[in-house]
Structures are given as C-alpha cells and as structure tokens.
C-alpha cells in the first residue's frame, strides 16, 4: 500500500533522508520512529506529495506520488506535524470543509461529523476557532479531519503527543479497528509504550537512514531498549544545581 525505493531528500548540503526503501502492506499499522531531526516528518511529507524527493520513487495506493499528487491526496488522510489548521475556522467548520472537499453528501457528512465530535470529546468546543483552542483540541481536530473522508491510508505525524489519556485510548482503538478493516496506518511517535501496543511493523530511522525494519513479532525485546540502542542513545548528565538550595 505504501512503497518507497531509494528515496533521498537533500536540503542544500544536508541529507535529510538517505536512500530510504520501505514497504507497508494493506491493513498494517507501521510505526516510523526516530529522534527529532532524523527525517521522519520529511519522509511523511514526501509520501503525502507535499515535498518532492531529490531522487528515488514513492507510491501510495499504487499511485506514484511525484506524478499523481492530486490523486494520492484523494486516497489518504493526513495529520501533519503542524496540524494544518486555519485560525479563522472553527472546529466544526474545519470538518465541514473536509467533508465538502472530499465530496461527502450532506447526510453522510452530518452523521460522521457528529460522531467524530462526540467520540473525540469535541462537541462542546465545536464553535471554538482553531486559533483559540488548546493544543489537544487542535490535534483532535486535525485527527478528525484525517479520518473523516474514510481514506485508504492514514499518515499521522505524532498523533498521541499532547493529548489526554482518554482521547489517546480512543484514538488507539480507532486506529486498531481501522487497520483491521484494511486501512493502512503510517504513524510517527515518541510515545513508545503506546505504539508498541498497536503497531504491526516498526521502522527506526537515524540520520535519514533506516536502522531497523521488522514486524512486531520480530522485535528482540522491549521496543524502548531497542530504540535507545539503535535510534537515540541517551545523554546522561547530572544537574548538580537542582535541589542545591539556591534559586
């Protein structure tokens, strides 16, 4: 469902993504993990057709992302890193915009929007302008926009960060159910215990290159240990001035 072959993205002299090759099957939840600046968001942007790769090929739903960007966008739902919301639209208006643009009929969109607002606990804030909403509210809105058109593939950039535990569970359950029905989910996250619970495939990236790619069954031990070993070895330094009695 998602396929990329020797994908490269360079910004000047910096190589953000270096010869990345990857296959994600239909109905799979793929966790794309790595430290900040590893190239996760750049990869997601390339797969969504937001950024042209320097070289290499990528296809989503069998469509080449570089040559058919508009067609790809009709098949995918995206929760972008910066959420992609307009300050001058309310939560409900964002969902109405999505419904109309993806061609949902009035009845269908009404029913889906009401359900999403209810499930994601956004009903009370439906008339809040996105510019005035909390970060959690904004993230839930962007998630609802991604899900609303019932896409074949979901690209979610850090969906579980900065949301309350109840909503996180609801989103997890939604994603698991969606994957069981054949929707492919490609997500990035730093919350390893959550992704460990739901993902079927784990891909780790460091410095733009893949350092691990396996199914959940092939993980050698805990995801966190593997991640800290391969993707982001921790820096340990003590702050002696903490609790030293001096302000």
């Amino acid at each position: 469902m998602i396929s990329c072959h020797r994908l490269v993205k360079r910004f000047g002299t910096v190589t953000a993504v270096n010869s990345l090759s990857l296959e994600v099957e239909k109905g799979t939840i793929c966790a794309f993990l790595g430290p900040n600046g590893a190239g996760k968001s750049t990869t997601v942007k390339m797969l969504c057709g937001l950024l042209a790769p320097t070289s290499g090929e990528a296809s989503v739903c069998g469509l080449d992302v570089a040559t058919h960007p508009l067609a790809v966008k009709r098949h995918i739902g995206v929760l972008p890193e910066n959420l992609g919301l307009f300050d001058d639209l309310t939560i409900a208006e964002h969902l109405l915009l999505t419904a109309r643009i993806y061609g949902l009929d009035k009845q269908q969109s009404q029913a889906r929007i009401e359900q999403l607002l209810r499930v994601l606990d956004l009903s009370d804030g439906r008339h809040t302008f996105a510019g005035h909403g909390s970060h959690g509210m904004r993230k839930k809105t962007a998630f609802a926009m991604a899900v609303l058109p019932n896409p074949e593939v979901l690209f979610l950039d850090e969906p579980f960060e900065a949301i309350d535990p109840a909503t996180s569970k609801i989103m997890r359950d939604l994603l698991v159910a969606a994957a069981a029905r054949g929707i492919t989910v490609f997500l990035t996250s730093h919350i390893l215990p959550v992704v460990e619970r739901i993902a079927h495939q784990f891909v780790m990236i460091r410095g733009g290159s893949i350092v691990w790619n396996s199914s959940a069954a092939e993980l050698p031990g805990s995801l966190e240990d593997l991640y800290l070993e391969l993707a982001e070895p921790p820096v340990s330094e003590e702050l002696e001035w903490l609790a030293s009695g001096q302000s």
Binding site: K45, C48, G49, L50, L51, A52, P69, L70, K73, R74, V78, P80, N82, L83, G84, L85, F86, D87, D88, L89, T90, E93, H94, L96, L97, R100, I101, Y102, G103, H127, T128, F129, G131, H132
Partner: protein
C-alpha cells in the same frame, strides 16, 4: 519593585517589537503612492493619504500594552496585589498614543471636544482587545457561499476583515458615501476616488496567504483541490468587498481595479509567503511590484470606466493569472 521593573522591561521589549510591526504601512500601496506624490512635488496629496493611514492605525495602536503578557503567565508569576496594581497604572504609559493624548490635553490649540474625541477613540482601542467578542473571534458570523469551498471562502473573508487595508478602504468608501449623501459627486471625481478606495485594499492582493501561517499552507497542499481553486477561494472575498466599497462611486471600475490587483498580486502571493499581522497594514513584496500593481489598477479602472466592455478582457487575463499561479503554487516546496 524589582519584579515590577523586570515585567516592565519585558513589556518595553514587546511594545517596541509591536511598534515595529506598525511600520508595515510603509510597504502599503497607499503609502507608496503618497510617497510618489511627494517626490512629484505634491506634499498635500502625501499628507492626505498619510492622514488616512494614521487615522486607521489609531485604534490598533491604542491597545493595552499589558495584553501582550499571557494572562496565565501573569497569574503564575509571584507578584503581590500591590505590584500588580503598579503594573496596571504604569503599563499604559508604555503606549506612545497615551503620551499623545496627554500632550493634547495640555496643548491650548486643541478644543475640549476634539480632545474628548481622541481620548474616546483611544479608550475604545485600549479596551477592544480585552472584550470577550475579540478574544473569541470577532467574525464568527459571516455569510455562507455556494460550493465545496464555502468554508475556505468564509475563512478568507474573516482574514480580509482583520487587515487594516480593508478598514482603510472602508474609511474612504464611507467618506465617499457621506459626500454622495450631501450632494452629487462631480463625474470627474468618481474615478479618482474609486482608485483611492481600491489602492487602500490592493496590497493585500500581494499577500493573500500572509495570515494563514505554516499550518494553513500545509492544509492547502493536503486538500485534493487544484491550486487555482484555492486562489479563487482567496479572491472571492476580495472581489466582493471591492465591489461593495466602490458601490457609491464607480463599481465597474472598482471591479476592474480589483481584478488587476489580483492578477499582479497572485504571483507574489504564491511565491513569497511573508507572514502578515492582524490589525496591521499589509506590506507588499517590493516597491517595483507595488508600482506595477498601482499602474495596472489605474489603467484598467480608467479603461473600464471609459469602455465598460474592457472588463471582459480584464476577467480573461485574471483567469489566466489564477490558473498559472495556481500551478506555481502546486509545485512550491513546503
């Protein structure tokens, strides 16, 4: 008092930055034209156009300096009630308009009525950002438009209404309406007044995405719609407001000027995403672009005023510009 001094020092920095943003009017077409008049030896035209800009800037400039501190941050800081009181008393004096009002109060040439008017407008500007309606979004109720881009058009209308360009144009339009109500406007004045009304709002056509931010641009690119549709959704409120504001004057010439402003402005809008601020004047891409836009607007408005059918040609060129700039937009990297 050390804490009060620290907060005031932070406020001074914030106010200074805020005042810098006021300078955006120097890149506005109305000011550019005023400057050209000045160099052509007509200082009265420069003063008249600058006075309109100054009048429109007066209210946002009067805003309470303390508003720049997030209320949550203020609540967290360990400040006593007395220290908060001092901040409330001292902070308005960080606003240069407060000093202007004080100076007017002691200047003998200013009548009590004029001072009261200035002080009243200052008070409105000072309190306006704190009103619940402002904080929750002033333009909640805007009309619906037909078609799938309805919500985008509504959003764009709200954005346009949050620029001083619109209000400057509205001020000229209201003045024209008043002039018209008092008696017939001489026929030869209709076109120049229409052009001035349109000049006031035209810079916004160069910065159509200036209020959308990075998140907005990402969303536009994720939507499965063509670039020209996104641009058209931007243009609809601009065209509607342009016709509305030139209704007391020469609406066909106003529409032609609006089409010309957008035709020139599209390319700058899609290739240079300069962030604009709400309640400030839009700043154009460059002096050259502004002059080009002003000349195109004036020429097309004059042509349509003389031969109304020319508007068909204007619409054709505008349509081509929308399609072409839409294509450019689709290929822009994020």
């Amino acid at each position: 008092m050390a804490r009060v001094r620290a907060v005031l020092a932070a406020l001074i920095t914030a106010v200074r930055r805020d005042l810098k943003s006021v300078g955006s009017f120097s890149g506005n077409n109305l000011f550019v034209v005023g400057t050209v008049f000045l160099f052509l030896g007509d200082p009265r035209a420069f003063i008249a156009l600058t006075a309109v800009i100054g009048l429109v800037l007066f209210i946002p400039l009067s805003a309470d300096p303390l508003r720049v501190l997030p209320p949550d941050r203020m609540a967290i800081w360990p400040l006593s009630t007395v220290e908060r009181g001092w901040l409330r008393i001292l902070s308005p004096w960080l606003n240069p308009v407060a000093w202007l009002i004080a100076a007017l109060a002691v200047w003998k040439h200013v009548t009590m009525g004029l001072w009261a008017l200035a002080a009243g407008v200052f008070a409105i500007g000072f309190l306006l950002p704190s009103l619940p309606a402002s904080r929750k979004g002033m333009w909640r109720r805007v009309p619906d438009f037909p078609g799938p881009l309805n919500q985008l058009i509504r959003k764009n209308l709200r954005e346009t209404l949050s620029t001083l360009d619109f209000w400057c144009s509205a001020a000229v339009s209201i003045f024209s309406l008043g002039f018209r109500a008092a008696g017939p406007i001489p026929a030869e004045a209709l076109l120049p007044m229409t052009i001035i009304t349109m000049l006031a709002i035209s810079t916004y056509a160069q910065t159509l995405f200036g209020l959308d931010g990075a998140g907005g641009m990402t969303r536009y690119r994720l939507l499965p719609v063509a670039g020209w549709q996104i641009l058209a959704a931007k243009d609809v409120p601009f065209l509607l407001l342009s016709v509305l504001m030139t209704l007391p004057l020469a609406p066909a010439a106003g529409l032609a000027a609006a089409l010309a402003a957008l035709t020139i402005g599209h390319h700058a809008s899609v290739t240079h995403h300069s962030n604009q601020m709400r309640w400030r004047f839009s700043s154009g891409l460059s002096f050259g672009t502004s002059i080009f836009q002003v000349v195109a607007m004036t020429a097309t408005a004059a042509a349509v005023h003389a031969i109304p059918l020319v508007i068909v040609l204007c619409a054709g060129v505008y349509a081509w510009s929308t399609w072409w700039s839409g294509r450019v937009m689709e290929q822009q990297p994020l």
